[in-house]
Amino acid sequence: MVTIPLSQTQPPTVPMGGSGAPPVLDVRGLTKRFPVGGMFNSKQVHALEDVSFTVDRGETMALVGESGSGKSTAARVIARLIAPSAGEIRLDGVDVLKSERQPSLAYRRRVQMIFQDPFGSLNPVHTIGHHLARPLEIHKKARGRREVRERVAELLTTVGLTPPDEVAAKYPHQLSGGQRQRVAIARALAVDPDVLLADEPISMLDVSIRMGVLNLMDRLKEERGIASLYITHDIASARYIGDRTTVMYAGRMVEGAPSTTLLDEPAHPYTRLLVSAVPNPRAGLAKRAIQVRGEVPSLLDPPPGCPFAPRCPHAMPICREMMPGIEMVGPRHWVRCHLYGPGGTTIGSPAGPATAGLATAGPAA
């Protein structure tokens, strides 16, 4: 078991990248605090604390968490829709927060975002063709009406909206939710982005069309070598599309691993809780009682220590005092939990109640 010492001020570089090439997106110590309250009782919502990860070209990283976990804040900060309180965003090794005070047009082009609501993200008074032509014109990806029209048709075909000329003439309300989300993806692709941030792109879609959208994202990743960040509350879809999955809880990253490893051998007690809570008829209909109760804690000036400690069945005194560092528990599998730390009791194969049904859940050290 390797221990990487970690101080609160020096954000860690989590060794997760696969190939030798520098990661396209490299986020370090990203922190976002929102001030609330007045002059005398001002407090801070710790929405994002010390978040670090990398995404390689042609890789999909899934960020999983419940509401309030900070996963959407992470996407918004990386898209530079809001400014972080601290941390670095490196694009091909360049710290963009330092090199450009305001996000440049080039940054906007290279980092594209797909939102949850395909009804709200398209303008109802413009045709689909207009939605796709605008970014082509603004970012000078096509010149002249004919070239623009050809590129629009090409984009629509890429995302499976055919016949393209017919679709281009339609208005958003004439399309289904799944089709609109495909338009949103086509719009993001129009400018040849390096990074795609997809914030719950399928959660508002009908069940039967979700897989089609995920498969499309997966195909684009392969074909265009895009680095994708897939943000979701659904750990099963994270496993499906994510090469790696990182779990967030109360603004912090608590565990990360290759997606199948994470689900087969979840190490953090919170990840285990999350996995055991997902409806899973394949595991048999025997009722799997989960023992952990309570809800995500308030993010208003949280106490020191691990945010999951108040709900954790394995909590120790140290858990309430300091945030655990990063421990490697397997190849490319890390966890922030004192149970795996130098001072922690090695729980070996923790057969605690929270792990019921997860026979293989021991740390893979």
Binding site: V207, N215, I235, S237, R282
Partner: protein, 345 residues
């Protein structure tokens, strides 16, 4: 009486779905050939088109379908809470043999909450924001039963304990409770009059998965203890398979498959059900590519002819575009409306 020709598109006899009217197994709720239409400027939308099912005492019947399949419309039709432009245009709904569609407004007021209560997805946001949750429970009780306010309050305390909220929170306003706690409070209100049946329409969809699991376990416990029936409506087939006894799959206003939960999971027959099953990625095992279902649910103003699923079906044959498949029993207890399967026997 001669049997109807197999190709007839008529409503399936409810007798097929459930029958023993005598004794304790007599159905609590019987829905027979229900039709509901929404009148739209583009013409009537047949939101529910000839749906029949029964619910036995203590049974959980799962109703699955996507948006627009008519599943929520059925819930509102049973409670008679549909408002124009939605109109019940045909069929029967009976609760303990009593015809709900013939009830007066006064009778309905007594029927709702006392006989059948309801938990909606958005119910947690339907609580009155300027009234404490305790007062809202007490008012519900007093609206249906004459008793001193003090006794109604004692009942409210009991209900909060049952659903796992600290009774001290009775004095809280809705905004002071988390989403999960508000939804528990709504379930407490639904339990207030100890009804024999509850309708739950996406009761946990807006909640996080851990809270969802906790609440569903609680509902399961309560059901075992108090013995009520549940009509459980959701788009989440995996949740439905875990918690239902039988499942009806709806598509475009019709039930396309109906079977015990385990059977639906192990042996889905209808291509739509199979497609739904391959829309939920697995948590374990080999990663397999899932296809979902091509296309999108149909426009209900002009639904497809013949089998309504035919434009999205990979096994479509010319006849399927013309002839409406009847819901038929293909193995004991397993009904499917699909031309690919011959009738049992």
């Amino acid at each position: 009486m001669p049997a109807p020709p197999p190709s007839s598109a008529g409503p399936v006899s409810v007798a097929l779905l459930d029958h023993r009217r005598d004794g304790a197994d007599a159905p609590l709720l019987e829905v027979h050939d229900l039709h509901v239409e929404y009148l739209s400027p583009r013409g009537p939308v047949r939101a529910v088109d000839g749906v029949s099912f029964t619910i036995r005492p203590g049974e959980v019947l799962g109703l699955a379908g996507e948006s627009g399949s008519g599943k929520s419309t059925i819930a509102h039709a049973i409670l008679r809470t549909l408002h124009p432009p939605a109109v019940i245009t045909g069929g029967e709904v009976r609760f303990r043999g009593q015809d709900l569609l013939a009830m007066s407004d006064e009778e309905l007021e007594q029927f709702r909450w006392r006989d059948v209560s309801m938990v909606f997805q958005s119910a947690m946001n339907a609580l009155n924001p300027v009234m404490t949750v305790g007062d809202q429970i007490i008012d519900t009780i007093l609206a249906h039963q004459e008793m001193p306010r003090q006794r109604a309050r004692a009942r409210a305390v009991e209900l909060f304990e049952i659903v796992g909220i600290d009774p001290g929170r009775l004095n809280a306003y809705p905004f002071q409770l988390s989403g999960g706690m508000r939804q528990r409070a709504v379930i407490a209100i639904a339990l207030a009059l100890d009804p024999p049946m509850m309708i739950m329409d996406e009761p946990t969809t807006a909640l996080d998965v851990v809270v969802q699991r906790d609440i569903m376990q609680q509902i399961e416990d309560l059901k075992t203890r108090l013995g009520f029936s549940i009509l459980f409506i959701t788009h989440d087939l995996s949740l439905l398979v875990e918690f239902s006894d039988r499942i009806a799959i709806m598509y475009a206003g019709e039930i396309v498959e109906f079977a015990p939960a385990r059977e639906i999971f192990d042996n889905p027959l209808h291509p739509y059900t199979r497609g739904l099953m391959s829309s939920f990625p697995a948590l374990t095992g080999e990663k397999v590519r899932l296809t979902g279902i091509p296309g999108a649910p149909p426009d209900m103003v002009a639904p497809p002819t013949g089998c309504r699923f035919h434009p999205r079906c990979s096994q479509v044959k010319p006849m399927h575009r013309q002839v409406v498949p009847r819901l038929r029993e293909v193995t004991p207890g397993h009904f499917v409306a699909c031309h690919l399967y011959p009738e049992m026997g």
